[in-house]
């Protein structure tokens, strides 16, 4: 037992040490924020520049790092919309059709497969699961040529079928994997209780698993929406007629016309093509982040 007299200084130094540590921590937090803000500015600057350039008169776009245009040239948007042989209305309509059907296809076929892998017992399951995981690694370029030959023989080139049908056949294993990870987190006893309550495996899927997996379905829907929207290679190969072009293909047309120096319009249409992605990202940020964390991918 110490006396009060000897106790006091100890306490004071302890308090002082604590205060000093607090101060040090606060300072390091400020440095951290400054650094992170700096990185944020660098990250966002190209996007901001793109947006600014889409509103600038042609002669201001280059040789200026400033973002504020001397006059806002909204014409870039209206003129850009009709700058190509066909109006962007057509391209957006095309992209929307392809994207919506692809998303539906992805969700249905991948959730079926994921349910089988995560919940059902059947002979050869581990083998098939391994094969499925291997297809995650296979680059699209490897299957591109035979797929092209196949779709050509089927007379599907210059239609949307080569873009949409594969998505109804669970061709993107990433989504299967994402959903398997999610389904496995649902308690298996729910399925068993439902079995005793008289549900078939089919009914369990629709009545128990799907309603409880809305977050995973949402994540998959958003990812697949964004990727299909941005998809370039498959449309490039399968769509030759400008009537059927999707937005990314149309954007590329601007590059082919470069001589005409329509940079403002090209940037305006580029910005518009990113808008759906950014809107979905802003609205569903939480889902996207959680999706990446559970799948550990992309």
């Amino acid at each position: 037992m110490k006396t009060n007299a000897t106790d006091m200084p100890d306490q004071n130094t302890a308090l002082a040490l604590k205060a000093a540590r607090k101060k040090r921590e606060a300072r390091s937090r400020i440095y951290k924020h400054i650094f992170l803000l700096l990185v944020s500015v660098i990250m966002l600057y190209p996007l901001a520049w793109l947006f600014a350039a889409s509103l600038k008169p042609e002669n201001e776009i280059f040789n200026s790092i400033g973002l504020w245009p001397s006059e806002f040239k909204w014409d870039n948007y209206t003129e850009g919309w009709n700058a190509l042989p066909l109006s962007f209305t057509v391209f957006y309509k095309n992209s929307t059709i392809v994207t919506l059907l692809s998303v539906i296809g992805n969700l249905l076929s991948c959730s079926f497969a994921a349910y089988a892998f995560a919940r059902l017992r059947f002979t050869g399951k581990n083998l098939f699961f391994g094969l499925m995981m291997m297809t995650l690694m296979i680059p699209y370029h490897v299957v591109l040529i035979p797929q092209y030959v196949l779709f050509l023989k089927l007379g599907w080139v210059d239609t949307y079928l080569p873009l949409i049908v594969p998505r109804f056949l669970a061709s993107d294993a990433f989504f299967i994997f994402l959903m398997v990870q999610f389904f496995r987190q649902l308690p298996r006893e729910l399925d068993e209780a439902a079995m005793i309550d008289g549900c078939s495996p089919y009914k369990i899927f629709w009545v128990i698993i799907l309603p409880l997996s809305l977050p995973a379905m949402g994540t998959a829907a958003i990812f697949s929406l964004i990727w299909v929207w941005e998809d370039f290679l498959a449309p490039l190969i399968y769509l030759n007629d400008i009537q059927s072009y999707t937005v990314p293909l149309a954007l590329r047309l601007f590059l082919d016309q470069e001589g005409q120096s329509a940079y403002g319009q090209m940037f305006a249409m580029s910005v518009l093509s990113l808008v759906p992605v950014i809107i979905f990202f802003a609205a569903f940020q939480k889902l996207i982040v959680r999706g990446i964390a559970t799948s550990g991918m992309k």
């Binding site: 951290k32 280059f62 089988a116 059947f122 499925m132 035979p146 495996p201 954007l251 990113l274 982040v289």
Partner: protein, 297 residues
């Protein structure tokens, strides 16, 4: 038989779309392209058997093949570590109790979502032109700019920068991994007087190794697959002077510009083997440097 069906039917029913997709769109095409790789095929006539002709030409006479390999490997070797180091660094900054984490996380992740789009590729082209913004910024610091994209010596770096700009997705995975490290380990180390540096190498790194490994495999494969941005920035050809001749761009041109489908199939198979090789190497060596906390899930 009846019992077999009763036990398995549901699984196979749910897997039917995947089975169709796997056999028609993955396994079938892979085998078909193996066959085609031994032929000459221009899509007009039938494929003509050519034995190892394509491979012989590829390895002994086609300079562009070697160029494409060099470009792609250089890109992978530069872009993957750059992106991962960036991702890990920022993830560690974000992990330590910042309240505004979701704000930064959103900003840093956005480029990963946009990066694959044609709009960004078009933007990137303009940023690094002689009269582009990058040079304007450099001029502020008194640095003489250059035509980064039209110069074959520097063009690849613009794509490496683009890859770094998209560090967001591995960052999110690192963040999730860092969250999984129990905080009391650091507290225990703190009490033992372990330095921050030592904490990083003795606690963070070993426990994060599975995540690093996972990101490494994934990002390497992603890097090998890079296509759209290289295609747009190089005008679809691999220019300038083939310095952006990514393997995928090369393959695409052989197939869909010159219609040398047989040769392109051989290229596809070599790509498959390369990626298979890298995946296998990382998996086989992982047991020496990856420490899994739970061997089971």
């Amino acid at each position: 038989m009846k019992r077999f069906l009763r036990r398995n039917a549901a699984g196979y029913v749910f897997l039917t779309p995947w089975f169709l997709g796997f056999f028609l769109l993955a396994l079938g095409p892979i085998l078909a392209s193996l066959y085609l790789s031994f032929t000459r095929y221009d899509m007009i006539g039938a494929p003509r058997w050519d034995g190892l002709g394509n491979y012989e030409y590829m390895f002994t006479r086609d300079r562009r093949f070697w160029k494409a390999l060099t470009v792609t490997f250089s890109y992978v070797a530069l872009a993957v570590p750059a992106r991962l180091i960036m991702a890990l660094g920022v993830a560690m900054l974000l992990d330590k109790g910042l309240r505004s984490i979701s704000f930064y996380r959103a900003i840093f992740y956005l480029p990963s979502l946009l990066g694959a789009s044609i709009a960004i590729a078009i933007l990137w082209r303009q940023l690094f032109e002689l009269d582009g913004v990058v040079n304007d910024v450099l001029a502020l610091f008194g640095i003489q700019g250059a035509a980064w994209i039209s110069n074959p010596d520097t063009s690849l770096y613009t794509l490496v920068v683009l890859a770094m700009w998209q560090f967001g997705s591995p960052m999110l995975i690192f963040l999730a991994g860092l969250r999984g490290i129990p905080k009391d380990l650091y507290e225990a180390a703190e009490i033992d007087g372990t330095s921050k540096r030592r904490q990083f190498f003795r606690i963070t790194m070993p426990l994060l190794a599975p995540v690093i490994f996972f990101n490494l495999v994934l990002q390497t494969i992603e890097a090998f697959k890079t296509f759209s941005s290289a295609f747009i920035i190089s005008d679809g050809t691999g220019a300038p002077a083939d310095s952006l001749l990514f393997y995928t761009v090369f393959l695409f041109n052989e197939a869909f510009k010159f219609f040398r489908m047989g040769y392109a199939s051989a290229l596809a198979w070599v790509l498959l083997l390369i990626i298979g090789f890298f995946t296998a190497i990382t998996f086989l060596t992982s047991k020496y440097w990856v420490h899994y906390e739970n061997e089971r899930d």
